[in-house]
Symmetry: C2
């Protein structure tokens, strides 16, 4: 059995991966924990410690090969494949997500979008035909989709999450500003801009 | 001089505040670190420890008064007032942010939105007239705005951030999927849905 790696470490790997891919796009071939650390505002020791949990990726004194380490991190994070993602909620945020071109290079493909408003069902958003929210469970289960992003009002979010879990979804990214309960084995991440803003106002004069 | 409180603690306070406000809206008057912890998936001991850094908010055995603790946290986070916020980028995400009604109750007011595309400048987004990105520095400095959200392409993000910093902005929430450099005294938070999704795919089968 593999050892348990703290989720806080897992949470930093996508940040490392993003920086490495960016360096690669800049034409770079080799980097170091020092340089990565300076870019990201994380100590070099922390980066070395995090990466060492997964193996030996660099040689003492020669640094990390950017392409190799990117591939390894993609594999660890299981984004060396493409995951289908369902969006629930076709309001402003749902549409922005459906039209966002940045997912495809990072392991994700928007597969379908749902809304429960009769006036939206059947109309188009970012090239998708909006599906009826009442079909959510059946359609997602039939497609075998494991990942969803929800952008519905806070009052509807828990109900949508329950349906997603029943449909077999195991990873949910929520834009609803409310804490969501899920059974063991299902992960939720929240994006709530006010939370981020409030974390910074503390430091303002 | 006040003692330095770890940023990771500060980062949890908005999450506590959101849960407390939600409990208040449910008509509740008192809660406990146990109950808060269960709602949020954080240990009761952690919550007590975090709050104790700021004072004595509850009585042993009687729990926390929800309204009182909410007010205290709002004050600590400096969101017992309303901060003007500028948005840079009037694409899908910028427009969604401009139209998002959830900011006002949480200490923020969208004051202006900028874009540098000539065809967008002067047109309307969520009730705002889109301002010319070339005026960004002057307008933000003149208005004394300290907080900005940016939703511009990754390639433009650092340049926009540099201009915001010159204009006096001290807290930036970025939706551009790229690491941004800022001088000491300026805070940046990133929202990148792919980062959140990749943190969850690690756990999928």
């Amino acid at each position: 059995m593999a050892k348990q790696i703290p989720d806080i470490v897992i949470g930093r790997l996508p940040v490392y991966l993003r920086a490495l891919v960016q360096m690669g796009q800049e034409g770079r071939q080799v980097t170091s924990s020092q340089e990565l650390g300076e870019r990201l505002g994380i100590s070099a020791a922390q980066i070395r410690k995090d990466l060492s949990q997964f193996g030996e990726f660099g040689k003492q004194g020669t640094g990390y090969n950017i392409e190799f380490l990117s591939k390894q991190l993609s594999e660890i994070l299981k984004v060396n494949r493409v995951w289908d993602v369902a969006i629930v909620g076709a309001g402003d945020i749902g549409r922005a997500l459906a039209g966002y071109s940045g997912f495809s290079e990072r392991g994700f493909r928007i597969a379908m979008i749902f809304d429960n408003k009769p006036e939206l069902v059947g109309s188009e958003a970012a090239g998708f035909m909006i599906k009826d929210g009442r079909q959510l469970r059946d359609e997602i289960a039939a497609a075998g989709i494991k990942i969803a992003m929800i952008a519905v009002p806070a009052t509807q979010a828990q109900d949508v999450v329950n349906q997603l879990v029943e449909a077999g979804v195991r990873a949910i990214l929520s834009y609803a500003p409310v804490h969501l309960s899920v059974p063991a084995g299902v992960r939720v991440q929240n994006i709530d801009p006010s939370i981020h803003l409030q974390r910074m106002t503390y430091y303002l004069e």
